[in-house]
């Protein structure tokens, strides 16, 4: 029996607003428990919600970026259930008329093929607080700092057919929300959470199988693992003649398995109804147009521009563009030095990212400003210094405030380009290493590298390697 996997992903993205979706309390992460809670977030008697403008704008931004329809009129609804991290006993969400409807995203798979994944809807809602079970002995501790943080819930169509596709889609959404600057997408901090609805059906069957919802997926790798486990579990059950129970399951990354969630076992009737404390949200064309104009250049277009206009290699362009902040750094560097975009690309991909990885930091914290990098690279380009010297200077620039030119002058690092001086070194080397000279003449061309190295050494790395190369050959041939 061959099986087809059907997956739909629900991704909750915390929007990067300063204040909460319905109150003026701060959304800052990591504050001491219950210090970012206003009476509204605490669900006190008599309080009322007022909608955060930026949360709405961010939702619209997202909708436009996925070519979805922005609802000109959308409604907030109450989702009613009891849980200690849900202070009002209901969550304000959107049900029948969400702010974003329809839309799609193209994903690229490992084998290079592309696929379009449909997005059913995206809606605004408030986040719940946090329950901490291991703080007290017989009690659960509740921290409501997170309660009221704005969330955008993005629901995909059940178009995903493999764990790999799921991971790719999840990564694409992640990239997009960071590109749009509507979320920092930090999975460790809970700004980006993914639930997967997984079911299987015999290949060729039109009807969907019963699905299980898998929660607690907070990395791209885990989404693949969780789905793989779940698919295997379901196929196993079905092949043994058992049914799939429609339930919510928790992914355990340590054991790499999914298991049923106890507290959600009882089927909940959420009794959705329009929230009478909030009026219909109306969005006019003017607002939509304004936001459309403010959309940043997205990944695909950026890559095309890099390859077509800047003539950068395809793979490199994708590497740079995939992280919005790195792309911004790259473009800022080009603002100061645009003679050789590929050179800039190479340096960012190897040297800069090397430092970021080593120090486990984001580009925002990187010590070398784009302008400084630009001046360093322009000195390579104009032959003032060699690549090797530049790398040395690069490392110094991580801690030094001096300009590139200051350092070159102070340390006497200018490349030696006058033939007279180089020829002197060359003569010395050819004298000392006459064996190698003979070997070269005998046809062993690779020995040239050794000779070049020796000249470089004598010149303390300052001689222009290309010239050295030329002049050695000249002298030998004489």
């Amino acid at each position: 029996m061959s099986w087809e996997t059907v997956i739909g992903l629900e991704i909750h993205v915390q929007l990067d607003t300063n204040s909460k979706i319905f109150s003026g309390a701060s959304t800052s992460y990591g504050s001491e428990q219950n210090t970012n809670t206003s009476l509204i977030d605490l669900g006190y008697p008599g309080v009322l919600p007022v909608l955060n403008k930026d949360a709405v704008m961010m939702a619209i931004k997202f909708g436009l970026a996925i070519d979805a329809e922005i609802s000109r009129r959308s409604i907030f609804a109450r989702k009613n259930y009891f849980y200690p991290d849900l202070p009002k006993g209901y969550q304000i969400s959107q049900y029948e008329l969400p702010i974003v409807q329809g839309g799609s995203l193209e994903i690229k798979l490992n084998d290079g093929t592309r696929k379009v994944i449909g997005i059913t809807r995206a809606h605004l809602e408030e986040d719940a607080g946090k329950s901490i079970h291991d703080k007290f002995n017989n009690e659960t501790a509740i921290d409501l700092n997170r309660a009221g943080t704005p969330l955008l819930e993005i629901v995909s169509e059940p178009d995903i057919r493999s764990a790999e596709e799921a991971s790719s889609y999840m990564q694409k959404i992640h990239q997009l929300v960071r590109y749009l600057k509507i979320s920092d997408g930090n999975m460790q901090e809970g700004s980006f959470r993914c639930d997967a609805n997984v079911s299987v059906r015999p290949s060729g069957q039109a009807e969907f199988g019963t699905r299980a919802e898998v929660k607690n997926i907070n990395s791209f790798r885990f989404v693949e693992n969780a789905i793989n486990y779940e698919v295997e579990r379901q196929i196993d059950r079905l092949e043994n003649g058992n049914d799939i129970i429609q339930e919510t399951r928790l992914y355990d990354p340590d054991k790499d398995e999914t298991r049923p969630m106890r507290s959600k076992e009882e089927a909940n009737d959420y009794r959705y109804f329009p929230d009478p404390d909030l009026l219909p949200l109306e969005i006019d064309q003017k607002t939509i147009d304004k936001i459309q104009k403010s959309l940043p250049e997205l990944f695909e277009k950026k890559v095309i521009r890099y390859t077509d206009d800047l003539k950068i290699k395809q793979n490199d362009a994708e590497e740079i563009a995939k992280n919005m902040q790195i792309a911004e750094y790259f473009e800022a560097t080009l603002n100061h030095f645009n003679n050789n975009p590929q050179l800039v690309t190479n340096w960012i991909l190897s040297e800069v990212i090397g430092v970021l990885n080593r120090e486990n930091m984001e580009i925002n914290a990187f010590q070398i400003e784009p302008m400084q990098l630009a001046s360093l690279l322009s000195r390579i380009e104009d032959n003032t210094i060699s690549s090797k010297i530049a790398k040395n200077l690069f490392n110094q620039m991580l801690t030094s405030n001096e300009t590139v030119d200051q350092m070159i002058k102070q340390q006497g690092l200018e490349q030696i380009t006058d033939e007279g001086s180089i020829n002197e070194y060359v003569a010395e080397v050819l004298n000392e290493f006459s064996d190698q000279k003979d070997q070269y003449l005998a046809g062993k061309e690779q020995v040239l590298g050794f000779l070049v190295g020796q000249v470089m050494k004598r010149s303390q790395g300052k001689a222009n390697p290309k010239l050295v190369n030329e002049l050695i050959i000249n002298q030998i041939k004489k």
Partner: protein, 479 residues
């Protein structure tokens, strides 16, 4: 003992014949003397009269008032008539309270009310029944029973209440005072403990329409903390009080005058109509064809909203908390069992039912559609008439305990008042006479945001008659 109106107190303060401190003390003394037998107040304040320069020019500076215990007042116990909030001290002021505070008024105390505003007789309060000053064996109506009794008995010159289905107007009618429910959205709901969010509105119980006009000016207005509050400008209501009523057209809905009102009450209504006619008002028969569905509509919408609004009372962050600790589910259930009275539980269950899967369309959605029709009836009627009049209640104050066994019979008390809440239109009740020594009231309903018309009309009536100035015999005992 004289029941001073706010207008009289203003004059006395202006003439300096009495100070605000003395006025405050006068009422406090009355409350202390009378509250045991009336039980109008749950808590009695000793508010500070703190003068400030902002208040210097305020017309209501120094005027004390009674505040229904549904309004959060900072630093005060705010119980909503319920055991669930018996220990709740509010950390903030409701916006209407803040507005009045800024104008230099002072709170005399928090008045008794039906638990969570659910009731029409003030018999569901955790703090005991309120007694009608006209006959202590009878109810003052509800849910703003405490506020009504306080004003009727002279324990406060004026009081704030809330009206979701008639909870200001009905008790006003049963206690012989004036009760105003403004347009939905006229006054902020921020800090007013929610019962049914799309129906609740803060309002005034007073001796006269003039007093209501004075206070409404300062209470009303847009509040950015309440998304459902209106940006409609607040007029100076007192400017309209003396407009001539000649040519005003009043609609009398046939559905309100279908013969079901007992003749002795009908007699009072007819007399009022004559009094208005003498002032130049013209009466016209109209129809509000869907009005008979207001009670069932209300009893779907209100419980639905309240079942959700009351979910926050779970013992975790404030309010009553059960000592039951075995597991979360039992903890919630026990806390809410202990904290809520039977009427509240009944409405929560009803509300949960009408919203539940499979029933939403048949009940809630259906009710909201019928609501639209009821609203349309009002809009149509107001094309032909300026205001609508009719009885406020079907009878005068009933005896305590009479209706407690039959909720539906209790619900029918609201038959004339509920439709205004469903539509959001403003309405006012004023006394029009007595039957068997018990007061009876008539209601005037106006289009949205036409409170000035209501206050004008009733003020003119109150200039020509003196029903509103009649005081219960009980007041004479406390001199």
């Amino acid at each position: 003992m004289k029941r001073h109106t706010v207008k009289e107190l203003q004059n006395m303060i202006a003439e300096q014949s009495i100070s605000s401190e003395e006025i405050y003390q006068l009422y406090l003394n009355r409350i202390k003397a009378m509250n045991d037998s009336i039980n109008a107040f749950i808590s009695i304040e000793s508010d500070e009269i703190s003068p400030s320069s902002e208040q210097e020019s305020s017309e209501i500076k120094g005027i004390p008032y009674a505040l229904k215990d549904i309004f959060c007042s900072e630093g005060d116990k705010t119980t909503c008539g319920s055991k669930m909030l018996a220990n709740f001290v509010s950390p903030y002021d409701a916006t209407v309270v803040k507005n009045l505070r800024e104008k230099g008024t002072v709170i005399l105390g928090k008045t008794n009310m039906d638990e969570f505003a659910m009731g029409s007789s003030n018999e569901t309060s955790f703090y005991g029944n309120v007694h009608n000053p006209w006959d202590k064996e009878r109810t003052p109506g509800g849910s703003s029973g405490g506020s009504a009794a306080a004003v009727a008995a002279g324990m406060a010159p004026i009081a704030l209440g809330t009206d979701t289905g008639g909870s200001i107007r009905q008790p006003a009618a049963l206690t012989g005072i004036t009760g105003l429910k403004p347009t939905y959205g006229r006054c902020s709901r921020f800090g007013m403990i929610a019962f049914a969010s799309s129906l609740d509105q803060a309002g005034i119980l007073s001796i006269s329409a003039e007093d209501a006009a004075i206070f409404l000016e300062h209470m009303a207005g847009y509040d950015q903390k309440d998304s459902t509050s209106s940006t409609e400008e607040v007029p100076k209501y007192t400017d309209f009080l003396n407009n001539d009523l000649t040519g005003k057209v009043v609609g009398l809905p046939m559905e309100f005058f279908d013969g079901s009102l007992d003749s002795k009450y009908q007699g009072l209504v007819s007399e009022s109509i004559h009094a208005y006619e003498k002032m130049g008002v013209q009466f016209k028969d109209i129809s509000l064809p869907n009005i008979k569905y207001s009670v069932p509509t209300y009893y779907v919408v209100a419980p639905a909203e309240c079942s959700s609004n009351l979910a926050r009372y779970d013992g975790v962050r404030f309010g009553h908390r059960s000592t039951e600790n075995t597991d979360l589910d039992s903890f919630y259930k026990q806390t809410r069992k202990e904290g809520f009275g039977p009427e509240v539980k009944r409405r929560i269950i009803t509300g949960t039912y009408v919203l539940s899967a499979g029933y939403y369309d048949a009940y809630y959605l259906k009710a909201q559609k019928v609501r639209q029709l009821i609203n349309q009836d009002f809009l149509n009627a107001f094309e032909e008439v300026d205001v609508i009049m009719g009885p406020t209640t079907q009878q005068s104050a009933f005896k305590l305990g009479d209706k407690m066994d039959d909720p539906v019979s209790m619900y029918m008390n609201d038959i004339y008042t509920i439709s205004s809440n469903l539509s959001g239109v403003p309405a006012i009740s004023h006394p029009i006479g007595f039957v068997d020594n018990l007061p009876f009231g008539m209601q005037v309903i106006a289009p949205h945001f036409m409170e000035h018309d209501l206050l004008n009309i009733v003020h003119q009536y109150q200039m020509a008659t003196d029903w509103h100035l009649q005081t219960p015999a009980l007041c004479r005992e406390f001199d």
